[in-house]
Amino acid sequence: QSLCVHLNYPLYIRSVPTQGELKFHYTVHTSLDVVEEKISGVGKALADQRELYLGLLYPTEDYKVYGYVTNSKVKFVIVVDSSNTSLRDNEIRSMFRKLHNSFTDVMCNPFYNPGDPIQSKAFDSIVSTMMVQAC
């Protein structure tokens, strides 16, 4: 399970137990294409913040990728194992909401320049907590 905050380049990536980080990176990058496709296609639903992307990629990998785009084109990507069927759509949505809130908190910090890798400890802790909960 991993999570990534993207602005077309990774601002933040975090993975939980599985060590296939590189694979996650790759997965996240490919999913970005899908995300872009989705947000560019939507002309009127621009205000639609939440985007749920489900069932991505290789069936063999058997994991799902969820996407979420903020109004400032910052993308959140969550990759979860399909074996973890306990995760429901609502849970994913709440995770994204929490992520978004933490992200805005980070943004509020005047010492944080948008585009910098996120180094906020509070953000890290929130993400870790979330991922632990999900597992």
């Binding site: 805005t104 908190d105 980070v106 943004m107 509020c108 910090n109 005047p110 010492f111 944080y112 180094q119 906020s120 400890k121 509070a122």
Partner: protein
């Protein structure tokens, strides 16, 4: 005694070395002095030598006992003593010493002396406070003080203020933070914008990630701006970090904004206010905020702090004069009281703004600016509004709306267009009147110096400015008047918007407004250039709104005219019809 003795040699040395140095030398460095004083009297001496000459007297000031011989010096170096008092926490001198601070202070010679001073500390802080006040006054004379230096010094000073718990803010520290806050934002109830706070804290030379972490800890409402408690927290964390304390992962209980130290917000004695004011003046040499206003604010800020508690006061303007009278304190305090009504209102506005979600930051600046305008000129406003009202009906409207909702003035809503004109004008005349209230002649001198600087800013009509400047310059000559000019200056930066409106609205009513506008102009001119833009924009906006209103009014009147005309035509035709009948 031992401490005193230990300090005495140090002091004497410093005194001897620095005695020749004029007290005012340190004016520019007052801030520096203040800070260094704080950490240690002994330390201040070498420090002072390095930075300011004033520091030397400071250590002596710290020692009450030693003060006697150094009385003369103290007076001169009054500023240095303020440093120490501000720094040395009266509440926990001994505990203070036990801190590893001593270790941290290794850099300073005073460290050793410091330890020696422990026994004598308790008495020292108290005594120091009085000299510090005195010195603060002197410091006020210094128009410009590098904020960066002050920040660093502040950190040093703040170090000493630590009480038993490193995460508890002592009263002195809080005073210090209050001054710093005021230097950034005259209104204690307002918020400091993120960028402003960032620039300020960056001067502390801490690494950015740490500052970022500190911000995360202290900005509890996550609005991108710092309230006064948040600011104190952040400042305190910075100070702690500079002293070597590792940053906590979570905010300690004592640093939470809701934590209220007993007696922290108490109004300081009048003498304290004076020095504080001076202090602030020094601190904000280049501050965008109203420098002059800060002086006033400081005085008022003290009361403003209490005002916070009193928050329930309402219409500032109306209460302004009545408030002044009841004020038992000296005039500066009176002015403060006038500000009090403002502060509660502004506090309310601030609270409202604060509760707003993250979208606050953009507006808070304007609010802060407007709020800033409020505090300094509460007393003048009521009077001004009256004068304004007579000049222009619209002004009355504004006044009414403005008085009714002071906070709204600050709001960026369209209403602001209405509000600004009335309040802006009234304050001006009163401001001049307020000079007399300003007690400090020192300030006047400062102001005199500052005024020329402000005069350089050409925000508003040049002619007005020049006239104001001329008027102000004359006032500067007179010490009491200089105070007023300061006020104007202070008001000016605080009310950039107002001034803008006034100059523009004044075009409609030039005569009466001219003197006031001039004052405001000067004030506006004093505003730092960065603010000018904002003020100009705000003024433009207000003017536009006013124009829109007037246009609407005009169109309505035109319509009415048409209707009446039609009626007239109808009546005439009827008359014509009847006339032949009558004639026949």
């Amino acid at each position: 005694m031992a401490a005193a003795q230990a300090g005495l040699p140090v002091r004497l040395e410093s005194v001897a070395g620095e005695l020749p140095l004029p007290v005012f030398v340190g004016i520019t460095n007052e801030l520096e002095m203040r800070y260094p004083n704080h950490p240690s009297t002994n330390e201040s001496q070498p420090h002072i030598l390095g930075s300011l000459t004033g520091s030397a007297p400071h250590p002596p000031a710290d020692r009450p006992v030693l003060r006697h011989p150094d009385t003369s010096m103290d007076k001169q170096e009054a500023w240095s003593p303020p440093r120490s008092p501000g720094i040395s926490p009266p509440c926990s001198p001994s505990a203070y010493r036990s801190y590893p601070y001593g270790a941290q202070r290794n850099g300073t010679d005073t460290l050793l002396a410091y330890d020696g001073k422990v026994p004598g500390r308790p008495s020292v802080p108290q005594e120091n406070s009085s000299p510090s006040h005195y010195s603060l006054k002197l410091q006020s004379e210094q128009p410009v003080i590098t904020r960066g230096a002050s920040v660093e010094r502040l950190v040093e000073r703040a170090e000493i203020d630590y009480s038993d718990e490193p995460w508890r803010i002592t009263e002195e520290q809080r005073e210090y933070y209050t001054n710093q806050f005021r230097s950034l934002q005259p209104d204690l109830n307002a918020l400091i914008m993120g960028t402003v706070a960032k620039n300020f804290f960056t001067k502390s030379k801490l690494p950015i990630p740490e500052l970022s972490h500190i911000w995360e800890l202290s900005d509890v409402d996550k609005d991108g701006a710092l309230t006064f408690p948040e600011f104190c927290t952040a400042f305190h964390l910075i100070v702690a970090r500079k002293n070597g304390y590792p940053l906590p992962e979570t905010l300690p209980a004592t640093l939470r904004p809701g934590f209220v130290e007993p007696g922290v917000v108490t109004v300081p004695p009048s003498e304290a206010t004076e020095p504080l004011i001076v202090f602030d003046d020094n601190m904000m040499p280049g501050a965008n905020q109203l420098e002059m206003g800060s002086v006033d604010l400081q005085m008022t800020s003290r009361p403003g702090v209490t005002a916070k508690q009193d928050r329930r006061e309402e219409s500032r303007k109306p209460e302004f004069s009545p408030k002044r009278i009841p004020d038992p304190h000296e005039k500066p305090i009176q002015r403060v009281s006038t500000l009090k009504p403002d502060s509660p209102q502004e506090l309310d506005a601030n609270m409202k703004s604060r509760t707003r979600p993250r979208s606050y930051s953009s507006t808070s600046m304007d609010d802060a600016m407007k709020k800033v305008e409020e505090p300094p000129t509460p007393p003048p406003r009521p009077q001004k509004t009256h004068s304004r009202a007579s000049s222009l009906d619209l002004n009355k409207l504004f006044q009414q709306s403005g008085q009714g909702s002071r906070p709204s003035q600050h709001s960026l809503s369209a209403k602001s267009g209405w509000l600004p004109p009335p309040p802006a004008l009234p304050p001006r005349p009163p401001a001049t009147q307020i000079f007399s209230f300003l007690p400090s002649s020192e300030k006047s001198s400062q102001k005199a110096v500052q005024q020329p600087n402000f005069a350089d800013f050409s925000k508003f009509r040049e002619e007005q400015e020049s006239s104001v400047r001329g008027g102000l310059s004359t006032e500067d000559l007179v010490p009491p008047k200089s105070d007023s000019t300061l006020r104007h200056q202070g008001h000016a930066p605080q009310k950039p918007v107002r001034r803008k409106l006034h100059p523009e609205s004044q075009s409609a009513t030039p005569p009466s407004a001219t003197p006031y506008s001039a004052a405001t102009l000067t004030k506006s001119t004093q505003r730092p250039p960065p603010k000018q833009k904002r003020e100009i924009q705000m003024a433009i906006r207000k003017n536009r709104e006013t124009n829109a209103v007037l246009t609407r009014l005009n169109s309505e009147l035109q319509q009415q005219l048409k209707v009446v005309h039609r009626e007239r035509v109808t009546l005439e035709s009827q008359l014509e019809l009847l006339r032949p009948v009558a004639s026949t």
